[in-house]
Amino acid sequence: MQIYLDHSATTPPHPDVVMRMQQIAQNDWGNASSLHQWGDRAALVLETARMQVAQLLNAPDPETIIFTSGGTEADNWALLGITRQYTTPQHLIISAVEHPAIAATADWLATQGWAVTQLPVNGQGQVSPESLEAALCPETVLVSVIYGQSEVGTIQPIQTLTQITQRHGALFHTDAVQGVGHVPIDVQALGVDLLSISAHKFYAPQGVGALYVRPGLELQPLLWGGGQERGWRSGTQAIGLVGGFGVAAELALANLDAEQLRLSQLRDRFFRLLADEPRLQPTGSQQSRLPHHVSFCLPQAPEEVTGRTLVRQLKLASIASSAGSACHGGQANPSPVLQAMGYSKAIARTGIRFSLGRQTIAADIDWTVLVLRQILNRLGVK
């Protein structure tokens, strides 16, 4: 038996998504910019998907959805598309628990002279509205705070943060890659100016995502060329991936409430079964949390036991989990996210994440908990 509990890294494409991609590969493979029938058919696929994604986010207009090659490009574009409109460096605010696609882009901007403030988080990984209020200054042009944190599952008070930001005349972006498709996200209710989405976190393929751009917002392109996506993002659209993305968005919207409830119950079951286990300490907020996200650290572990040790042991038991986010998979460094939450360097190496999905059932959770306890015993964790 194999148990896949790494849905925050990527998800298995839904069978309907695969079927759609197959249809497109065989029948609707045209270039959406071509003027002939093959082009028309591809354009229809493209615009249908744009509508489906817009509906998932309750976007005011399908044209606010611009397809990208994924969450990383959407994040880079949001930050660079706004900041590159300024000829002199200004001020940017991000949180201390951003995905590397935001953190590394902010680092690059800092090398270009931009002032970058990293908002601190509390022990649950949450940004406080007060700290944002204090950090905003007249030079602030953009604030970017992650919606749902990938390592510790914490959801930020985005609506409040957006209101504060906009009151100060700055723009607000959120990386909602881990949230979209799992919790209801309404861009109009949130009031955000920009929002990043990745398709492969909710049963669509990798290599495609989107940036929501609030109507009327000016943004400089990141990719220059043939002027696709109404000049916002050049490059022939990956029609197969986009079509799959659209189907996944429609499925996510149809199942959102039921699946959110089911997964949060499984998540709570996971935490509850380990509530008496002092060797594993839950990380992140328990109240404001992604429904499919379970994460721990090992406060008492001997030095040689890290999150990666557990991941490897679980792998031998055919259970897929993750230590930190997948992009860091090659490194044994302490997690910057856990450190920002106040954990010591040693503990910040022991983070482990289980992310549940549509095929996860209660028995998977029960079995994983059992295996996890045995591994801890075997490793001699006290």
Partner: protein
């Protein structure tokens, strides 16, 4: 692609578990196949979302990395917009760009290139095969000139991969943009070849993040796309010679028949061009009206798919007027086209032109 849609869906960066491993092995194998296709090393291949991103990465990445050495770039007026637009963007940042003209046959004149290279030139970007007129540029000669001036040489080979032999060593190419969907692969995947040895090309990443592709391009790779790309490359290389002959025969047959019309001109060099490409200008006929009449019979275009509403900048560079450029047709023949189809298209086109001319103000 299909096995990776369902069974091996892992994130190639997830090294902690089996799903990620299987994906990573497939990506590595694809990297080797694509590298071998252009005589490069696997670690010189950076996967991207397509040729547009590869061109942007090459041009902006080199410009940013060599900022201290110089701020002058050279390209050609007939390049794809995915090269011209990043260059125009760099101009807004204070870079200088020389746009070389082409000869009437679409080919670059080499002495013009030599003269244009300055002490502060950091990059020359010349496409391998033009997307509209199919003209092949003399890459080996250009590469030689760049190498002897110690200037980096980038080529957009989106249209050339799998259609003509490409060898980064023989051509002295330092950066090469590739895409899958022009050779029967999926859309949304491409690559940039970046030379690592003699010289080692510095490249400033243009997508920041998780450090994938050895820090040169962040973002999760999609395994099926990468695998589909490499299969398409492999199939094209296996068939390269036979398909070139087949397409050339079809194209020449089409051209021969179309020449029975008066006032038809071939755009671009007659021999130094892609086997499947035919681009013609038809005098005394309204291009838009012609396309409309042809539409039920044949899918073709008046130029690049990305910019159908303006007269082609490529044809203007050949010396055509805007009017002539609009009355031009691009035929891109492919693997599945047959003699019967070609004959049918020629017949329909000839009739359409004759009938349009009869009713037109020109006659």
């Amino acid at each position: 692609m299909m096995p990776y849609w369902t069974d091996a869906f892992g994130n190639p960066a997830s090294l902690g578990h089996f799903y990620g491993w299987e994906a990573q092995a497939a990506v590595q194998q694809a990297r080797e196949t694509i590298a071998a296709a252009i005589n490069a090393q696997p670690d010189e291949i950076v996967f991207t979302s397509g040729a547009t991103e590869a061109n942007n990465l090459a041009i902006k990445g080199v410009a940013e990395a060599y900022l201290q050495r110089g701020r002058h770039l050279i390209t050609v007026m007939t390049e794809h917009r995915a090269v011209l637009e990043p260059c125009a963007y760099l101009e807004t940042l204070g870079f200088k760009v020389t746009y070389l003209p082409v000869q009437a046959d679409g080919r670059l004149e080499l002495t013009q290139l030599s003269t244009a290279i300055r002490a502060d030139t950091i990059l020359v970007s010349v496409m391998a095969a033009n997307n509209e007129i199919g003209v092949l540029q003399p890459l080996a000669e250009i590469g030689y000139i760049c190498r002897s001036h110690q200037v980096l040489f980038h080529t957009d080979a989106a249209q050339a991969l799998g259609k003509i032999p490409l060898d980064v060593e023989a051509l002295s190419v330092d950066l090469m943009s590739l895409t899958a969907h022009k050779l029967y692969g999926p859309k949304g995947i491409g690559a940039l070849y970046v030379r690592r040895r003699q010289p080692r090309v510095q490249l400033a990443p243009q997508l920041h993040g998780g450090g994938q592709e050895q820090g040169r391009r962040a973002g999760t790779l999609y395994t099926p796309q990468v695998v589909g790309f490499s299969v398409a490359v492999q199939l094209s290389l296996e068939r390269l010679e036979s398909e070139t002959v087949q397409l050339q025969q079809l194209r020449d047959r089409l051209w021969q028949q179309l020449q029975t019309l008066s006032g038809v001109v071939l755009n671009g060099h007659p021999h130094h061009r892609l086997a499947g490409n035919l681009n013609i200008t038809i005098a005394d006929v309204d291009g838009a009206a012609l396309l409309l009449v042809l539409q039920p019979t044949v899918a073709l275009s008046s130029g690049s798919a990305c910019s159908q509403h303006q007269p082609s900048h490529v044809l203007l560079a050949l010396g055509h007027s805007a009017e002539q450029a609009k009355a031009s047709l691009r035929f891109g023949l492919g693997r599945s086209n047959t003699i019967t189809q070609v004959d049918h298209v020629a017949q329909v086109l000839i009739e359409a032109v004759r009938s349009l001319r009869q009713n037109s103000v020109y006659s």
